[in-house]
């Protein structure tokens, strides 16, 4: 039996400079945001923040499909969530729904029910290196080069 070391997470603090739906706010409908958003109230519908972070605060209850760059869950989400970067489910948080993300972080004590699909962005193909000029060489060296090309042709054929 073993225990895992505790994770160090950023403590929850309402972020300055982002939009906030407070504890007493109830929204039914679609939310589109072009800035970070913190929800500490209730939302029912859909939430979309393509290039920004959504934080569901400890009092937040979101019954919605969500798309965002990043999601931090301290409250409750019922709905499918999709992020391009990361979803972070903190202790005592609850998420019921499917997750589609590049990275997922689940703290001990978090409740999650659903599918997890990890979708990583494909690595950009590396440009082919410019062919290096080869000095003329005596015959044995040339044959070694050719052998290397035959054996590991992939290295020379980028």
């Amino acid at each position: 039996m073993s225990t895992l070391p505790g994770r160090i997470n950023e403590p929850y603090e309402p972020r300055g400079g982002s939009a906030v739906l407070g504890k007493s706010v109830i929204v039914k409908g679609q939310i589109f945001s072009r800035e970070d958003l913190t929800i500490d109230g209730e939302v029912e519908g859909t939430v979309e923040l393509q290039e920004h972070r959504l934080t569901v605060g400890p009092n937040g209850k979101v019954m919605a499909g969500i798309k965002a760059r990043e999601i931090v869950v301290l409250g409750t989400i019922h709905g499918n969530v999709e992020t391009t970067d990361k979803i972070d489910i903190r202790k005592d948080a609850k998420l019921v729904g499917d997750i589609r993300t590049a990275r997922v972080v689940i703290e001990d004590g978090a409740y999650f029910k659903g599918n997890i699909d990890i979708v990583r962005a494909e690595a950009k193909p590396q440009p082919a290196p410019k062919p290096q000029p080869m000095a003329s060489a005596p015959a044995p060296a040339a044959s070694v080069t050719q052998t290397a090309a035959a054996a590991g042709g992939g290295d020379l054929k980028r």
């Binding site: 073993s2 689940i106 999650f112 659903g114």
Partner: protein, 167 residues
């Protein structure tokens, strides 16, 4: 079936698999925890609600199941129904991994959070204690999984019997 842990999620999805996660014990408590836990498991309405919430999947929906230690807390009748459901929802040729406590003298047995660290290591973190519905020996487990292709047993530390079942 015992909740998601970071290391297990990372391990399974690292192979490119999709992972479905749920906390079976959480469902049991939600459906049967109000009153006598095991007596409630004999009520048909509660059983139906439990099965709808925890095991409503299509036939052959899964390539395997990490059952962990959850089956120990089901009455014999409900256990049989759950095992039949597992048989239906995992595809032929797939495997189930389950753990059963082997120390019969204990009134309450530990429940664990199981965390796959790597292909050779599972870490167990105790998360509480519960009275089991029954204890199992090898013969009982063979009978429980009689509809499956094979059952293998391994005795581990901490009085746990590790069971690998092939559908």
């Amino acid at each position: 079936m015992a909740g998601a842990s970071q290391s297990t999620v990372s391990f399974v999805t690292g192979f490119g698999h999709r992972l479905y996660s749920d906390d079976f014990l959480h469902h049991l408590d939600a459906c049967f925890g109000d009153g006598d836990f095991y007596e409630n498991q004999t009520h048909p309405n509660k059983v139906e609600r439990f099965l709808e919430g925890a095991l409503a999947f299509e036939e052959g929906a899964f390539d395997g199941a990490l059952v962990w230690d959850t089956l120990q807390f089901l009455t014999p009748q409900l256990l049989q129904i759950v095992v039949e459901r597992l048989h239906r929802i995992v595809r032929p040729g797939s495997y189930l991994l389950a753990f059963f406590h082997s120390e019969e003298k204990m009134e309450a047995i530990p429940t664990y959070s199981f965390r796959i660290s790597d292909h050779r290591t599972i870490a167990l973190v105790e998360r509480g204690r519960r009275r089991p519905a029954q204890f199992f020996n090898n013969r009982g487990l063979e009978k429980l999984f009689q509809d499956f292709q094979s059952v293998k047993f391994f005795l581990t530390r901490d009085h746990l019997r590790e069971v690998i079942v092939r559908r």
